[in-house]
C-alpha cells in the first residue's frame, strides 16, 4: 500500500497508515526524493506511529531516506516510534544515528520550523 505524502508549506509529511512491505518502503524513498525536488521542500517528516515493527530493513531504509533527502537539501525527522518498537530496534543492535527524531508530529514540525542556524543534528 503506497504511503500518502502531504505537503504543508515547505514540509512534506509521509503519514504511514499500515504495515509496509519492503517494496512500499523503497517506493516511499523514491517518491520522497522526487517530491523534495519538485516542491523545493526543506523538511520531511515520516510518521511511523502506525508501525508495530521496524526491522533491520525498515530502519536501514529510513536512514537511506534521510540521507537522500539531506543531499537534496531537506532535513528529515522520523516521528512516532512506539516504545516497544524502540526497545526492539535497540535489541536488534540498530540505531537511527544521523536521523532526527521526535515524539510526535507536532514536535517534529517544531523541530523543522526552528531557524536553520539553531537546528540540532543528532
Amino acid at each position: 500500500m503506497p504511503v500518502p505524502i502531504l505537503k504543508q508549506g515547505q514540509i512534506l509529511i509521509a503519514s504511514i497508515q499500515a504495515a509496509l512491505t519492503d517494496h512500499d518502503l523503497i517506493q516511499l524513498k523514491d517518491e520522497l526524493a522526487d517530491q523534495v525536488g519538485r516542491f523545493r521542500s526543506r523538511g520531511v517528516i515520516i510518521d511511523v506511529t502506525a508501525l508495530d515493527v521496524l526491522d533491520s530493513f525498515a530502519t536501514r531504509t529510513l536512514r537511506g531516506i534521510a540521507a537522500t533527502a539531506q543531499l537534496r537539501g531537506a532535513q528529515t525527522v522520523v516521528v512516532g516510534i512506539q516504545p516497544d518498537v524502540a526497545i526492539a530496534i535497540v535489541q536488534l543492535g540498530l540505531t537511527l544515528q544521523g536521523v532526527a527524531t521526535a515524539l510526535d508530529l507536532e514536535e517534529g514540525l517544531q523541530l523543522l520550523r526552528r531557524p536553520p542556524n539553531r537546528n540540532r543534528t543528532s
Binding site: V53, D84, Q91, L92, G93
Partner: protein
C-alpha cells in the same frame, strides 16, 4: 503432534503476513507488551533471510512449553543454497552483500533460544523459542 501455523514465504508481503500471524499467536500464548514486538521483529528478520538468500521457504509458528513455562516456537525453513559458515553469518555486520548482516544476529538477541542448521546445497532451518516468564 503439535498444532502449527504454516506461512509460505516467497514475496515481501509474506514477511508482513508471517510477523502479523506470529504476533497474534504470541498474544494468544499470553505474551504482552514489548515481547509481542520483539517476537514479530524476529520473525520479520528470519522471513526476510529466506527471501534474500533462498527465494522461497516457509515459516512455521506454534505454541510450546518447557519446564512448565509456556512459550512460542518459530521455525524458518528453506531449501536454498545454505550457509557455508554459520559462525561467520552470526557475526554482527557479516553479509554476503544483500543486507547489513544484522538480521540473524539481531533475531537471536530478540528471542530466548536460537538454533541454525544449514547444509550447503540443501537449505537452512532456523528454530527460535521465546518463553513467557
Amino acid at each position: 503432534m503439535r498444532d502449527e501455523l504454516r506461512v509460505p514465504v516467497s514475496r515481501d508481503a509474506d514477511i508482513v503476513t508471517a510477523r502479523q500471524l506470529g504476533r497474534e499467536l504470541a498474544a494468544k500464548a499470553g505474551f504482552a507488551g514489548s515481547d509481542l514486538t520483539l517476537i514479530a521483529t524476529a520473525i520479520s528478520e528470519v522471513a526476510r533471510n529466506i527471501i534474500s538468500y533462498a527465494e522461497a521457504g516457509e515459516i512455521r509458528l506454534g505454541l510450546a512449553s518447557k519446564d512448565g513455562y509456556p512459550g512460542l516456537f518459530v521455525v524458518a525453513q528453506d531449501h536454498g543454497p545454505g550457509i557455508p559458515d554459520i559462525d561467520l553469518a552470526m557475526q554482527d555486520g557479516f553479509s554476503t552483500g544483500k543486507s547489513l548482516g544484522l538480521g540473524l544476529p539481531g533475531a537471536r538477541r530478540l528471542m530466548d533460544e536460537f538454533e541454525i542448521v544449514s547444509v550447503p546445497g540443501k537449505g537452512t532451518t532456523i528454530t527460535m523459542h521465546k518463553w513467557r516468564r
